[in-house]
């Protein structure tokens, strides 16, 4: 190219985006207090204060909405705002005088305030039918239904501890649901259908065979064309083959749906981080409101809220009472599907007599 093109300049430096009260107190914060649901104050060694109002966001945001946020931030926050690691939007102020009018405006816009402290925060989620080729369920739709149903727990702080819900629309787990208090995971339950007519053009057969964690795929010649076949009994529907090869689609309206996983956590607070574990193997995709999913999750939340001790995350609670007790209390039927049968399965068998009856 003739003209030198500008690349690799990286993101803008964050400093230019910080409100003055932060710039001045950067690294000097002393403590914080939660003033009420969705509102907290950080107090600096200098005595300065920083007020935060956290509002719900659906994450999928139009430019129109972003501009509305900007209008509010200009009006109340000197033109500053931020988003959180769980995709809520936060408004930052150096005094408390604008808190109430800001909250009123946000509510008018349809953005509830909350998610701070012992509450449910926004559901980390993914693309679903909006944009991904891999999805076994929708993302934004399920999230909307679940949060509509659980909204009281977002707006209030009446839970024993934090409750982190996440959704991923396929086993790739872009929503990183593997360490959530409650995880909603889209799953396929039908082996890939093979497009024998095109596979040889689209995919490298050796990498397709190699992609399968259970060695279910082997090369085969079909109708004179090089292709692959799938030993269906060996397929556990991970879709890794499809990621590698477009000619092996997995999605299937009759068999796709949602599974529910619980008891994971990320923070090191008290208990070490934990993976989520399978609670409900399958619930149907039932758009637009996914009633089976919202009911199941509400039951889980309420069971935990009623029985856990203060500060006990979902997984900590279940660890204390034991999984058999959890299954009895929740009424969820324990099935073969709950028993691990992958690489480290043996380590999940109960190797003690620590049982409750």
């Amino acid at each position: 190219m003739a003209e030198e093109r500008r690349t690799d300049y990286g993101p803008p430096h964050f400093e230019q985006f910080l409100p003055p009260v932060i710039k001045e107190n950067y690294g000097k914060w002393k403590y914080h207090e939660v003033l009420k649901p969705g509102v907290m104050v950080h107090v600096s060694e200098t005595g300065d204060k920083l007020y935060t109002v956290r509002a719900a966001s659906g994450r999928l945001t139009s430019i129109q909405k972003i501009r509305m946020y900007c209008d509010l931030a200009d009006k109340y926050c000197g033109g500053h705002l931020r988003f959180t690691s769980r995709h809520n939007v936060e408004f930052l102020m150096d005094s408390d005088k604008n808190i109430e009018p800001l909250i009123a405006d946000l509510k008018d816009m349809g953005h509830p305030i909350g998610g701070i402290g012992n509450s449910i925060s926004a559901i980390v989620h993914t693309q679903g039918w909006i944009h991904c080729h891999s999805a076994a369920t929708d993302a934004s739709g399920v999230v909307k239904c679940v949060m509509d149903d659980l909204i009281e727990y977002f707006k209030e702080m009446k839970l024993p501890g934090k409750l982190r819900v996440a959704l991923a629309c396929c086993l790739n787990m872009c929503g990183a649901v593997h360490c959530s208090d409650i995880a909603i995971l889209g799953i396929h339950r039908r082996p890939p259908r093979i497009d024998h007519a095109n596979l040889y053009k689209m995919c490298e057969i050796p990498s397709v065979s190699a992609s399968c964690p259970t060695a279910a795929i082997r090369p085969a010649t079909v109708d004179g064309k090089q292709s692959v076949e799938v030993i269906e009994e060996r397929c556990m529907f991970c879709a890794n083959c499809f990621t590698v090869c477009p000619s092996m689609p997995m999605a299937d309206p009759l068999n796709d749906g949602v599974s529910i996983w619980i008891g994971g956590k990320v923070s090191n607070a008290r208990h070490e981080p934990m993976f989520s574990k399978l609670a409900i193997p399958f619930l149907p995709n039932n758009p637009p409101r996914w009633p089976e999913v919202t009911t199941a999750i509400r039951n889980l939340v309420e069971l935990w809220a009623a029985n856990a001790r203060k500060y006990e995350r979902m997984g900590e609670w279940i660890e204390r009472i034991g999984w058999p007790k959890f299954f009895r209390m929740s009424g969820i039927e324990f099935q073969k599907e709950h028993i691990d049968d992958f690489k480290h399965a043996g380590l999940t068998y109960k190797r003690s007599t620590h049982l409750t009856f």
Binding site: D8, Y9, G10, P11, P12, F14, I22, G27, W29, K30, H32, E33, T52, S57, G58, L60, T61, S62, Q64, I66, R67, Y69, C70, R82, F83, S85, L92, P112, V124, G128, W129, I130, H131, H133, A135, D138, S140, V143, K144, C145, M147, I151, L171, C174, G175, A176, H178, C179, S207, S211, N240, S267, N268, A269, R270, F275, P287, P288, K310, Y311
Partner: protein, 406 residues
């Protein structure tokens, strides 16, 4: 250009309820934008048919960059022509997701002109996601963004866009400057971020303390998590105040300490800091009274990932404690030794965590020249299958020293 919106009876049901409605967002955009309008119609169809309508993306992108754009085509291009291509652009967010309204408005203006008018604020890795545009708009979008100093993020087998918690900007517990560090790493690895050359993706996430508010231990190949080495700072008056205000320090704090290293006699709180695991719980519960120590730094962990292929992993300890000071040379040198090794010996689509499991942590450490330390394991081996690399032969000089094991 105000559109009439497609009929979407199913989606319309998602306009009710208190949680912000993504359907409303799409409709807001769709009024102005034919791509979003087609998206709305296609999504309604997916809701009816219970299946997505997107095909595997081809390789699309902007010149000179190997990643940052997710190609996407729908499988019914005649019916939904405005989104026959509908590629997503990942834009590297500023550290901590802080913005001025000015910067945001400029992004909106670009995306109004060049794309669907829809975004994710933010993607799950942390990028600003510009959700859907056509192939011909990719290059112009990039050049518009360049003018406002926003660059493209990662995708494919490269360094993915690093992210961090708000750290020192708003949090009293940040044990190092996560935002600056995230920025510095992002800048240091611009080439690796933009030009995929690894066996698979590599993610960095920076959290200021063990609360890990960016889930780095679960979601990044390298997790850099703030911690401290000395004693928890304690304000006795503030403890008394919490107690006076009705906090049950025994059951709320002491009984929840995983190290069982605290005592409360109703008056004085004792912490046996030599056993404290830096879990943060007591500090979380009494932020006015307790604070991380003063000798601060970070624990560096390696290898987290989602399940595909060999199962999900959390990161595991590589450096128990390191002072976090720019230019982070020691860490970056190590990162580069890790990449060299992994690029040489890693298999395609093998994340670094899986790679370590395959070759064994001991061998991995030898190859990257890091000494094994007990902090790297939850517990030593339980099986007696120990590889010794050498053995004595009859007639060896040191034959008497049967106790020496090399």
């Amino acid at each position: 250009m105000a559109n009439t919106l497609p009929k979407t009876p199913m989606l319309d049901e998602l306009e009710t309820g208190e949680w912000p409605s993504f359907v409303k967002e799409i409709k807001m955009a769709a009024k102005e934008n034919p791509m979003s309008s087609d998206l709305l119609a296609l999504l309604e169809r997916s809701y009816k048919e219970k299946i997505g309508h997107w095909k595997h993306g081809g390789i699309v992108g902007v010149m000179g960059y190997g990643g940052g754009v997710i190609g996407r085509y729908n499988d019914l291009p005649e019916e939904y022509p405005n989104i026959s291509h509908f590629h997503t652009m990942r834009i590297n967010q500023p550290s901590g997701w802080f913005y001025t309204t000015d910067a945001l408005r400029k992004i909106c203006d670009i995306w109004e002109k060049r794309g669907s008018g829809l975004t994710n604020m933010h993607g799950s890795t942390g990028d600003i996601i510009l959700l859907g545009t056509s192939t011909d708009q990719l290059e112009p979008t990039f050049s518009d963004l360049a003018k406002i100093d926003f660059d493209i993020g990662g995708s494919g087998s490269d360094v993915r866009t690093p992210s961090c918690c708000c750290g020192m900007a708003r949090c009293e517990w940040a044990c190092y400057d996560t935002m600056q560090c995230c920025y510095d790493f992002t800048m240091a690895y611009q080439d690796e971020l933009h030009r995929p050359a690894f066996p698979y993706k590599f993610k960095f996430k920076f959290s200021g303390c063990p609360n890990d508010c960016v889930a780095s231990i679960a979601r990044s190949d390298m997790s850099i998590i703030g911690t401290w080495r000395d004693e928890i700072q304690m304000d006795k008056d503030a403890i008394a105040e919490y107690a006076a205000n009705g906090m049950d320090i025994k059951s709320d704090v002491v009984d929840n300490c995983p190290a069982k290293c605290m005592e409360w006699d109703g008056k004085e709180l004792l912490i046996d800091n030599q056993y404290c695991r830096r879990c943060m719980h007591c500090i979380n519960v009494m932020p006015k009274a307790l604070r991380p120590g003063k000798d601060r730094g970070a624990t560096i962990l390696l290898g987290a990932k989602a399940p595909i292929v060999e199962g999900a992993l959390l990161s595991s300890v590589l450096i128990p404690f390191i002072k976090m000071e720019p230019p982070y040379k020691e860490i970056m040198d190590m990162v580069e030794r890790i990449w060299d090794l992994w690029c040489e010996e890693g298999k395609a689509r093998e994340r670094v965590g899986e790679f370590i499991q395959r070759v064994g942590l001991g061998n991995f450490l030898e190859a990257i020249e890091v000494e094994p330390v007990a902090e790297m394991v939850a517990f030593p081996r339980e099986n007696p299958y120990v590889f010794y690399e050498e053995y004595f032969e009859e007639g060896d000089d040191d034959e008497e020293e049967g106790g020496d094991d090399e």
